[in-house]
């Protein structure tokens, strides 16, 4: 391989001057974390609500939940990014549309976080539904028999159990959020992948650039994984699930 290695590139000034390539990557990492964490909070809140709706005894309500899930998981994420960025603003009322296109602060970031959050919420909802579905029916009956309303039964009895059960698949989703956030570069969010492409073109040191970015994504996803494992250990119920590790 005829390649001029230069690991010192990260400390060098960018062509325009004023900052180093490392600064670019750190800025990128910051946006990656911002998009991912915002999207994850959104995905958890909406996903838990929609997942619970899908297990509701009322059929129209369950169908509403199903519609949400199918809408977001049957369209590629990249296309969804473009839809939210280019198409949805056109269908807003006139003043809103103008505001979104001209004045909305951090337009790219907000769009990417919403899009990734909604997309992930559909996947979280599926897992929450499976978790609630795996509980014995008697748990719901016992909660209702004590006088809890159905929302109270979900809040205090069903969801706390279901969420514990689905922590392992939710861990994968949390890691996916970081990896999927790279798609945000397509609408101009200056996240890690965006900065990497820029650095590659500017410095012509593509291999170092992408190896560094690979490492940074790996650290993000791996930290998410360890964090969830910690939560799983903390919320383990004595006598309920045998220790597996």
């Amino acid at each position: 391989m005829n390649y001029h290695w230069n690991w010192g590139i990260f400390g060098e000034q960018v062509k325009g001057g004023g900052e180093t390539y490392l600064d670019w990557l750190i800025t990128g990492l910051g946006w990656t974390l911002a998009v991912s964490l915002t999207a994850w909070v959104l995905a958890l809140v909406i996903g838990i609500a929609v997942g619970a709706l899908r297990t509701a005894p009322s059929r129209p309500i369950a169908l509403l939940g199903t519609a949400w899930v199918e809408l977001f998981r049957n369209v590629p994420l990249l296309v969804q990014m473009f839809l939210w960025f280019f198409v949805v603003p056109e269908f807003l009322p006139r003043e809103w549309s103008l505001w979104v296109k001209q004045d909305m602060p951090a337009k790219e970031f907000v769009t990417a976080a919403l899009c990734l959050g909604f997309f992930t919420s559909a996947r979280v909802a599926e897992q929450v539904r499976a978790g609630v579905g795996s509980l014995p029916r008697g748990q719901r009956d016992a909660a209702l028999a004590l006088g809890f309303t159905l929302p109270q039964a979900y809040r205090h009895i069903l969801l706390p159990q279901a969420l514990r059960i689905v922590i392992p698949p939710l861990t994968s989703e949390f890691m996916n959020v970081f990896k999927n956030s790279s798609i945000a570069f397509a609408i101009g969010v200056m996240e890690l992948t965006f900065q990497a492409r820029q650095m590659q073109e500017d410095s012509e040191q593509g291999i170092e650039t992408y190896l560094a970015v690979t490492l940074l994504y790996f650290i993000c996803a791996f930290t998410a994984n360890r964090g969830m494992a910690w939560i799983e250990a903390r919320t383990r119920v004595p006598g309920l699930i045998a220790r597996t590790s």
């Binding site: 014995p136 016992a142 006088g147 159990q161 006598g239």
Partner: protein
């Protein structure tokens, strides 16, 4: 206390209850027995509206269960229920199991709920286990906690849905002891069970069901001495003679 009139329920085209009528007076203990699939559990779950029904009426303390205007959670909070598989909340300690509905449904304060929980756990002989989780208790202990949890709501009557069917034989006694004590204190009880010893000892009446119908509804002594129907005779012969 509990009035059931012409109760009818079907799953699709399959009838499970075909016009059942009976009542349970205040302070009365009524045992419901019959072969599996006879509709006993469905009947008792209609009493607190856990099962919907299509025909007839059920009322508890004068309040109609099937009326859409009835505040079901409020009614259920006054009707204790004990399940075959205990259905303790596994993610909460025994103490929390007893306290939660007192706090969230009855609006009691934490001190009051905890005092009530402690008193009831003492009563069922499990005060030492208050901070354990359900998964750390035996089946018999779990069912006693479940009874205490229902009693913590100060119910006006208690429903038992095969409370000893999922227990190992050596644990049945400890649960029945608690139930007998409750009956002697004058609690209104409707009990689906095959424990005929319990029925003989405390039941005022026995209801025998088969294929969704109440075949016999008689004072306990009469039911055991001289069952009127062939079906009840056959059933009793099967469960008593071994």
């Amino acid at each position: 206390m509990i009035e059931i009139r012409n109760l009818a329920k079907a799953y699709g085209a399959t009838p499970v209850l075909k016009g059942c009528s009976t009542s349970v007076a205040k302070g009365e203990v009524v045992v419901v027995c019959g072969p599996s699939g006879s509709g006993k559990s469905t009947l008792i779950k209609c009493v607190n509206g856990l099962e919907a029904f299509q025909g007839g009426s059920v009322s508890v303390d004068g309040i109609s269960v099937g009326d859409p205007k009835t505040d079901l959670p409020r009614l259920r909070a006054r009707v204790g229920m004990v399940f075959q598989h205990f259905e303790l909340f596994p993610h909460m300690s025994v103490r929390q199991n007893l306290a939660l509905a007192q706090l969230k449904v009855l609006g009691r304060d934490a001190a009051e709920a905890d005092a009530r929980a402690t008193k009831l756990l003492e009563r069922v002989g499990l005060a030492a286990h208050a901070d354990k989780f359900p998964g750390q208790l035996s089946g018999g202990q779990q069912q006693r906690v479940a009874i205490a949890r229902a009693l913590a709501m100060d119910p006006i009557c208690m429903l038992f849905d095969e409370p000893t069917s999922a227990l190992d034989p050596e644990m049945i006694g400890e649960v029945l002891d608690v139930m007998v004590e409750l009956a002697h204190e004058g609690m209104t009880m409707m009990v689906v069970t095959h424990e005929m010893g319990f029925a003989r000892k405390v039941a005022h009446r026995v209801i025998f069901m088969d294929q969704g119908e109440i075949v016999e509804d008689a004072p306990a002594a009469q039911f055991f001495e001289a069952p009127a129907s062939e079906r009840a005779k056959t059933f009793l012969a099967r469960i008593l003679h071994h």
